[in-house]
């Protein structure tokens, strides 16, 4: 098996990866139906978690993870473990530029790629490792990830972007044009971002397992907290959807945006009917109305349900599917995820694709740690890629932030700017211990 970079003894300028440790971390969220939706009735928010160490002697570690919802988290951990021989003992490349090669080496391993390629368990494992390496890179640079990326020259960013299979929609030259267009206003937008924060919308009021009283109460509270958009899970029975939409709309009034999320429950034709039946509640979008692998059908749904928008992306396997969703005109709202595609290098491509097609990015968050991660990507997009936050916001769910060293903070309906060096991906050591599955105290 080839390792990425050459195995090398440590020298004054070169360091090696010495350890890649994995942890199966699970939070028993199903006990209170947090996160419940039409396809996932009882999630236990979980993280297949990885810590990368080097012999640099600087005590800096890279922390990363991918998000799962319980059973199978051990499979994800096994997939991260399968990447260990490619990395441990390998020379750490010049950061951040070398991360392009590391990423491509992980994705293109001539045997492991059979298990995807670039989708599902193995691709999420690449995400966890790359998130950890980007965390380490940002810590070494002494900057939060969003700032590290925002300070890079367009040429540096292009060199780090995964353009493979995108040439019929986005070339490196296209990307340079986008990034150069955004360059002049960067300093002003950064200042505004630090002052105002980035827009957020709230999901955690509308889980499918919450009863009507709780739905009404939490929806009203969201508005009081300054959110201008909330999201509601639908896709159960038609009568339940109508009743819950009515409750939510009455709770928030006519001026707050109401997004609906069907979590993949419907056939193409059914999605059109069911969305139209809810149109009277003025939904801003319908999210994941059908299979996450649907491109052609999603475009048909979008044409049929307008002016209700169509949103998708949290289960989109990779940039190749995102490219086609954009080419087909299937999306009004692109919901990238920090942990499902192959990490930052692939998300650079997805942000650039969205900018090229003029489709706003509303990152998927919630779960465990997703809010912590994706705020960095959205803030970088605002400062250095799309250059706007108009009709954009990052999802927020108010669960599990207390377990992170650098937690997402949302006040007045806006994500505050993270300032600590890194990708905000590190769980507190006591959480790593208490929620270790199956032996941590939360599970015994």
């Amino acid at each position: 098996m080839a390792t990425i970079g050459r195995p090398a003894a440590r020298t004054a300028t070169r360091t090696r990866i010495t350890a890649l440790d994995t942890h199966d971390i699970r939070f028993p969220t199903s006990r209170r139906l947090h996160g419940s939706d039409a396809s996932h009735p009882d999630p236990d928010y979980s993280a297949a978690y990885v810590i990368v160490r080097t012999d640099a002697g600087d005590d800096l570690e890279g922390h990363g993870f991918c998000f799962t919802i319980g059973r199978g988290n051990e499979v994800e951990v096994a997939a991260i473990d399968a990447l260990r021989p490619l990395l441990v003992g390998a020379e750490l490349p010049a950061l951040p530029a070398g991360l392009a090669d590391v990423y491509r080496g992980l994705v293109d391993d001539g045997q492991l790629r059979w298990l995807g390629p670039e989708k599902g368990v193995t691709h999420m494992a690449v995400a966890a490792v790359m998130n950890a390496l980007w965390d380490l890179t940002a810590k070494r640079a002494g900057k939060p990830l969003w700032k590290l990326l925002s300070d890079m020259a367009p040429e540096e960013l292009v060199a780090l972007t995964d353009f493979r299979y995108l040439s019929d929609a986005l070339t490196p030259d296209d990307a340079l044009r986008i990034l150069r267009r955004a360059a002049p206003g960067k300093a002003g937008r950064e200042a505004r971002l630090r002052a105002e924060g980035y827009p957020a919308y709230l999901t955690s009021c509308g889980w499918l397992g919450y009863d009507d009283d709780r739905l009404a109460r939490t929806s009203r509270a969201a508005v009081a907290d300054g959110f201008t958009q909330i999201k509601l899970k639908v896709g159960a029975s038609p009568a339940d959807d109508i009743r819950r939409c009515r409750i939510a709309r009455e709770a928030i009034g006519p001026d707050i945006r109401l997004a609906l999320d069907a979590n993949q429950r419907w056939e193409v034709g059914e999605a059109v009917e069911r969305t139209r039946a809810l149109a009277r509640f003025d939904p801003y979008w319908i999210e994941e109305p059908t299979s996450p692998d649907e491109i052609i059908g999603l475009a048909a749904i979008r044409r049929a349900v307008a002016p209700v928008k169509v949103a998708a992306g949290e289960h989109t396997a990779n940039r190749v599917i995102f490219k086609q969703l954009l080419q087909a005109g299937a999306l009004d709202v692109l919901q990238l995820d920090a942990c499902r595609v192959g990490g930052v290098n692939e998300n650079l491509a997805i942000l650039l694709l969205a900018a090229e097609f003029g489709v706003p990015v509303w990152p998927h968050a919630g779960g465990v740690g997703l809010c912590e991660l994706v705020r960095h990507l959205a803030m970088f997009d605002y400062v250095a890629v799309s250059g706007t936050w108009r009709d954009r916001a990052v999802e927020y769910a108010d669960h599990l932030h207390e377990h992170f060293l650098d937690p997402a903070i949302v006040t007045g309906g806006r994500y505050r700017v993270p300032t600590a060096p890194g990708f905000s991906s590190a769980l507190r050591p006591e959480a790593l211990q208490a929620y270790a599955y199956p032996d941590g105290e939360a599970w015994v």
Copy 2:
């Protein structure tokens, strides 16, 4: 966690699944570059293997597997292990009808589905388990799988087919129409199949790692053995592709079909150029010219390279992608796989989709055990679905058949009809021992 079916004590008529044992089986094929291609230079053909046992007291076991190419086979085994709690202890449903519910239960588990859904490692694990349950079902019926399926009424087959997310292209009524149209000629086609065998084409002459002499020698031998089509791996350097195509074409003469396989190496525009550069060698098809997730780009390639056909499917994640490939007009040749999608229930849908769109199915085989499995699906298709083998054949590669209890037999360029009850999925016990990774004698 819900088990599939109710846990139940054994009664006179009901049996339970008592064990689901997994094995990590790997063959060191990379030592001789068998199976080498432009994306997979050194595969070690492997099986994440599963044996299902029940308390029926009939000593029948279900054997199944999914195919990988080495590293990561342990991740696939972990994914099969993750399905064990859903099955062991559960009542075995009435066979074969109950397999529809078992399949749906495995695919839709509310936590595990996050890791796909329906793609990659977790979906291949479902394939392994479902293959094993279909093997058991066919053994109980005392028939080879192709015959078990061919003898079913259209209504029975429709009840076993996974139609989810297909309603905009294929409904149960469409499927009934297709199956009823084929019904009158079934007996005649079965007799012809038993007499003549099913057409095969040969891949194992053209691996990318074979030198020119070996390529010429094995190509000539293929023709002498009665094959009317061979396949060659391309996608390395343009000069190598041209040289190898010339050697193969000269070896086989003008009347034997030459298929080319690029194994995902190219961008969309590049695929068009590279295929056109090889058109002088009269290739029958170009296979996997770009990403296996490409639908829109593959349709563009197909339009641009005609009359060279476009083939794909061995890495197509599920029936939803196949549906769209057909809707977009991206395929001339549909190469289903027995182990990448969720097993027989999903492949029923794929065969029916192909029949609905009038696209011929040429199953992907080779690897370890794929020839053994897919011949059943192709023979069933001939007898009871498409009703034709015109311009169709099953891939054949002459590796590792000796390790199976009911090996694929190809003579005179045709697959002979398997007659043993089951899905031909069982490895010999001595192979399970010798090729166990990492402790079998082949590896120590």
